[in-house]
Point group: D2
Chain length 468, copies 4
């Protein structure tokens, strides 16, 4: 639900073309396909080999890129560029945190965009400060670009590889100078990044395959964990900088990635259907109808329906205008958020309902949905969650609620069931998630085991406003 | 799809409270629930028995009503008000066409909001002009209010009843002065209008029941065709002005009304499921999976799946950001509208797909969706439409395309099938629609039989810019 | 000073061209030249003989007319149009009060714009209401257009002349249908209106001559009091509807009209210089320097300097950015309005200053300016006002403060002097004003003698929000 | 004239208070008083000793600082801050160039704002790049802050003094960390900077004294050329880092600084009056009236009138709305810029006019004004310019036109006279400027003698878009 889901922090994108093309137009399409990965800011950077133009701002892709901005980016001989969609906390300044970040260095102009987090950013930043560096933001991105710039005698590829060796955490990055595009993933491949090819020989890198499709490119493969790839003379070059230890984030399959994405060869919608099937076997129930929380529970509800034999139905109507800002009418009516978004249809009247969703964060939203169904005449409401309980923070680019707000980190299953008012409640097991996805995954937010390390002290979101 | 669906022209709303209450807040909620009936403009008018305040503008409810506007409307002793959401063609002036329309007359201040059309508006307007009247818009609404004002010696109720007797067409209207709220439907009840009651004794009138729910009211009944109702001294009064000949618009059940609406006692989602079931029996097909065009085909796809036994699946991903304005990247990429909104999921790969939607207007969108599925690996695509072919214009408030653009009015079934590239194509029969809804309905856009008359000459959308 | 000057209520404009021309562009220039007569709203209406397009909104001319709006108005065969700048009280609705007002009547589309007020508007409105008319605004303009429309069997010229005979007060009006432009003044000629001719044979009507100049027209003459003029077949036609009793508003020469205007053959700047000269003779003083309050006191200060022989100097700097909205920093700093706008220059240090301005309304601003001069080292401050004290409200289109706020209507000269902290204070006499202007003028705001009548009861500014 | 005047590049401001105060409110007032020094962007930075908040954007002070932005800056315990108004070329990105620039360094958070230019910025930037630094803008400001940060073992005061020793050119700078405010001028004192004291013991630094006045501070003195001052424990400390060679910019007195400013003890308005007096003696003429180009020529016109005995009059009306953006009506009417801003009053009719202005850059504007006067009936027009001809570019923070556009660098006096259509033309001599100001000044734009050096190669305005 709005405000009660873990949030992805970014989508990234890069394109390289053998001949002049509408790079800004391509990036614009790709960013639109990655809008779900970040709604707070969007930006892109384009080069023709000489000029480098960047445009970025707070807002949705469709808000940031009007005709005037796109015209600024439309260099007649444009051949390469990178793009970014960003989730971030609010604050007018934070506009300056929008990406791509563009700097001039001894290697010329560099632009960078990233998804994820470095767990040792603080230590590296401190060492750079002592060397005389200055930072204008609190972005990890600025740390990485300063690290690369420090190796002023190495080539851009070598300096980037060296930075990869020093940085720890879960991150995917795209990077460009005036001629070359680079893309890389951390050694665990926590955040996704795929490679695509366009018919005329161009290369595209994106967080998810649907961006490739919209840009007219075919999926080639995922960037490997620990790999650095770049385009030189039209060829894709690869350097396996670090030994791969693949543990991609399970939540990409559970919720984040689009339903038409395929990551590491595994379709997200298909794995969600399988999660629902496993869940139906792990936690069966006698009921009349399986109802998804739209849209996040649809895949798992279909799976639950298939495995249980119970009919799937559309028991919750989602108001398509609910995403917009809406002035809450009065103090007394504040509690309407869920009702503005969802309404139970008469299809649930007199029925025993299995309600399927993908997660419970604070529990308040789930409780309100259960109540909606009861008000509409559901006789029983059985809640089935297609993932384990979220108990731990993510240090690799996901904004879960603070740990003390995570209901599962402080309450038992029975307490949660009572809190949300369900007749029964069940979560999918960790084994169930693994089985449904079918590959190695990071489950740190469920079990606290962090494959790519964690910060020495838990990082607090620092604003520029705070002390240095 | 965007730009390829018939469009409802308005949602209307009224509230009357026995004691001072947050009328603006209630109307705001109700309008949000009626947003799907009109996205171009929104407005409301509130009174405390002395002052009458109106705020209206082009835009979505959430855009028009910011804090400042709501504050203007928040009279401390507010007791009644009306609201409106409007679909209209673009044009900066047309802001002046937003409703409610508020006028001063010999009966004091009157405000009016309406949904639908008068087929004899032109003749009545001409007669009023000759009597010295002036018109500031080309709205039917202004014709009605002038007609009522002309009866300066009758009471508001009597004058309104007299106007009902003179006006022909399909329309629902809400009307207020500083003390009273009135609501009425044409004698065929073409456009919906329901009556709700709030726990404290207040009355609410709305185009659809979900507006009542969000405003904390319970559905009492539909306003009857040809009935005029009003609230006086806290009591609901009724006058059956015209003999009822009920033929409500079938498209409300097929597509327009929300999936959680119940009109004339018949649930829309349930009737859509039944349309899918009847369609599966009328036009069965051997296939692997039933895929809805989201969101309009979901109900019928569930019905088709149930009646056919074929599995329902989520084969088309709908980008939730697609409704927003989006600068088309270049001339060459213009054709991307459908791809920006929909993407086929890998669930259709290697499958024979039954694609379920509720209508085909021009055919171009349907053709592109069929192609999306084939590109994603569907081996066969069988299109099933849960309504008959649209062949005729609507004169009662729906903006279908012009007749020559309606593919079904100029092409045979086989021609349409070839145009959209489907393996097979079938539409639900008129009898099937009647059976699925289960009551008398207007099917004029399918069969050209207009129960509430039609204009002597087909009206052209007149802009203020054009000659008087 | 900002917020402490009488305010003109409107500027009006009309153009007629023998061949297609850029009517919108011409009106745009003319409105810019009339911006000082109304800053709250602007609008224009253009016709090519068939279409009539209107664009209007709250804001300055430069804000209302962006490229998009001008494009709407640029009919390829445009030949005539009218325009308006408006001062009005704030309120989001009041957008609907912007002019020109465009209506459809039995005479076809009519557009009207006016400057001034009808003192018997209320009675006429009541009679129209009883005849079945409805009103959408509280503008006098809507009353006039309804009055004209009521004469549905008369020609537009005859109906307008008939309306002139019924309306009382001080007003200038421009009016158009799709072919003709009309212009008229009340029988006292209270508000200005001039006729201009363009080299190619076109006609222009405007509140002040500088609008003609910017539109490339030469001043022909003033419209006579009580005269109705119109363009037919390229000829200017005239009908002296009412016997003229010329008493044009003296404040046009004292303050409102631009310094480069010539009204009734009398230059405003020249008359202001003469007011200063007469004032220097009526109220001489020993001093070192004559300092104008910029910009309103410049003309009179030059005259005072010439007649007195005292040197003119630039003792007050006016911040050119002060007109803009400015967020007052804190409650404690609220009193800064004058300081944000004006600052004393070192030129006044150690000097005995004659401070020249054109009016004192509430007195607070004058008091603060006197203090500014003393703070900067002026040893004496002698205030000279180039008009008599304002004691009475204007019923002919000027928004003076309410009578109880007019310091001169409740305080003696000596009390005002003490209130503003001046060493001496003198106002120009009524005789002095007459002498400096040199023609018959309305001095009602100084002496309470209303040549064009006054309302039976003092009209209160009615908002739409109030009862009908 | 609009678009035909040399433009100041910046205004700077700093405040330090012994106890918590409304620093943002004070800076807001001060920036408003410095608006004339830069209209493209505004910003401020505030600290309470712990937090540092910055808000900046493109636009006027009144546009950038709305309630929301001021609230962001209103730390309850705020004690110090700096502010900036900026002139810059357009371009959406350039928002990122707005000042103050805020960075984190080994010395903690630093904020900096500057006025002027470093002539050796390019060399210093190159050396920093080679040391691994990255730059996000092309601002000189970022060079200076990186230079300071490089001295990571020196204190902030020592590091700043060291940077002053390395930087060449004409510049004034304010700088802050979380506790201290610093202010400095280059060794020639080219750009102004003054010190003020508030009654409660606070310190203020500003480009011009009127900012002090509005902030409630008294002028103490100018910062000396080559001096670094800072506030520590409430005391003002001073370090004369470089030997002073005072040559402040003459154009501050001629045109840039406000008419109520006093710089280096010399009032600007008084010196302008003296320039007019000297000019009248250097280039006397028989005429009837002295007319200033408002507002820039007023001071000199008063002086010319006094010395010549010819009457001063207001022969050009300046439209107070002319500063706003205004859509040019059509291609054909493009040439209206001057007419939209200025109009001749009838005061010049039949007169021999002395037209007084402070500069001629391209000559086109002057030519149009001469024509305006002739069109209004002036029989002769004698142009008198209160400064020498501008022939050379400024490298110290003023944006004159490019040298080839400077009419005086390519044309003789007689050619210019003919170009602008004047009967006679005279410029004030260099000696005349020196005499009127009465102290040593930089006259580089008149004589090409650059006291503070010049770039090895003439710097081109680099955009981020261009190569690094």
């Amino acid at each position: 639900m709005t405000g009660d889901k873990p949030r992805e922090e970014c989508g990234i994108l890069a394109v390289w073309s053998p001949q002049p093309t509408d790079v800004a137009g391509l990036l614009h399409l790709g960013l639109f396909a990655l809008q779900h990965r970040g709604q707070e800011a969007a930006g892109m950077c384009v080069s023709d080999g000489h000029q480098v133009v960047v445009e970025k701002d707070l807002g949705l892709v469709s808000q940031v890129f009007d005709e005037a901005r796109l015209d600024q980016l439309r260099l007649p001989d444009a051949r390469l560029g990178i793009g970014h969609t960003r989730y971030s906390t609010t604050g007018s300044n934070l506009r300056f945190n929008a990406q791509p970040l563009t700097v001039r260095s001894s290697k010329g102009i560099l632009a960078i965009a990233h998804n994820g987090n470095f767990v040792n950013a603080k230590e590296i930043r401190q060492s750079l400060l002592e060397g005389g560096a200055v930072f204008q933001t609190t972005n990890d991105t600025e740390v990485m670009i300063n690290l690369i710039a420090r190796y002023s005698r190495l080539s851009l590829v070598e300096a980037t590889a060296q930075a990869m060796r020093e940085l720890e955490g879960g991150f995917s990055v795209v990077l460009m100078d005036r001629h070359t595009v680079l893309a890389l993933r951390d050694s665990h491949g926590v955040r996704p990044l795929v490679i695509g090819r366009r018919p005329e020989g161009g290369w595209v890198f994106a967080s998810e395959p649907p961006a490739l499709t919209l840009m007219g490119a075919e999926l080639v493969r995922d960037v490997h964990p620990g790999e650095l790839v770049w385009v030189e003379s039209g060829q894709l070059h690869s350097l396996q900088v670090l030994e791969p230890h693949p543990t991609p984030c399970a939540f990409e399959w559970i919720y984040f990635a689009r339903a038409d994405s395929v990551l590491e060869g595994i379709g997200t919608h298909e794995s969600r259907v399988r999660m629902g099937e496993v869940l139906a076997r792990e936690a069966p129930i006698q009921a009349d109808v399986v109802v998804p929380v739209p849209d996040s529970g649809i895949g798992a509800a279909i799976g639950f329906s298939r495995a249980s034999g119970l009919p799937f139905d559309y028991g919750l109507y989602k108001n398509p205008y609910a995403g917009r800002t809406f002035i809450q009418p009065t103090q007394a009516l504040r509690d309407l958020k869920v009702k503005l978004k969802l309404a139970a249809t008469p299809a649930v009247k007199g029925k025993r309902v299995v309600l399927v969703d993908d997660s419970i964060v604070r529990g308040t939203t789930s409780g309100r949905i259960v109540q909606l169904l009861r008000d509409a005449g559901a006789t029983e409401v059985h809640v089935r969650i297609s993932a384990p309980p979220i108990k731990y923070p993510c240090y690799y680019g996901i904004d879960t609620a603070a740990r003390k707000e995570l209901i599962a980190s402080t309450h038992s299953l029975e307490e949660i069931r009572r809190f949300i008012g369900a007749d029964t409640l069940a979560f999918l097991s960790e084994a169930g998630v693994r089985a449904a996805i079918g590959g190695p995954v990071c489950l740190a937010c469920f079990n606290g085991q962090y494959p790519a390390g964690y910060p020495h002290e838990e990082p607090q979101k620092e604003a520029l406003e705070q002390a240095g």
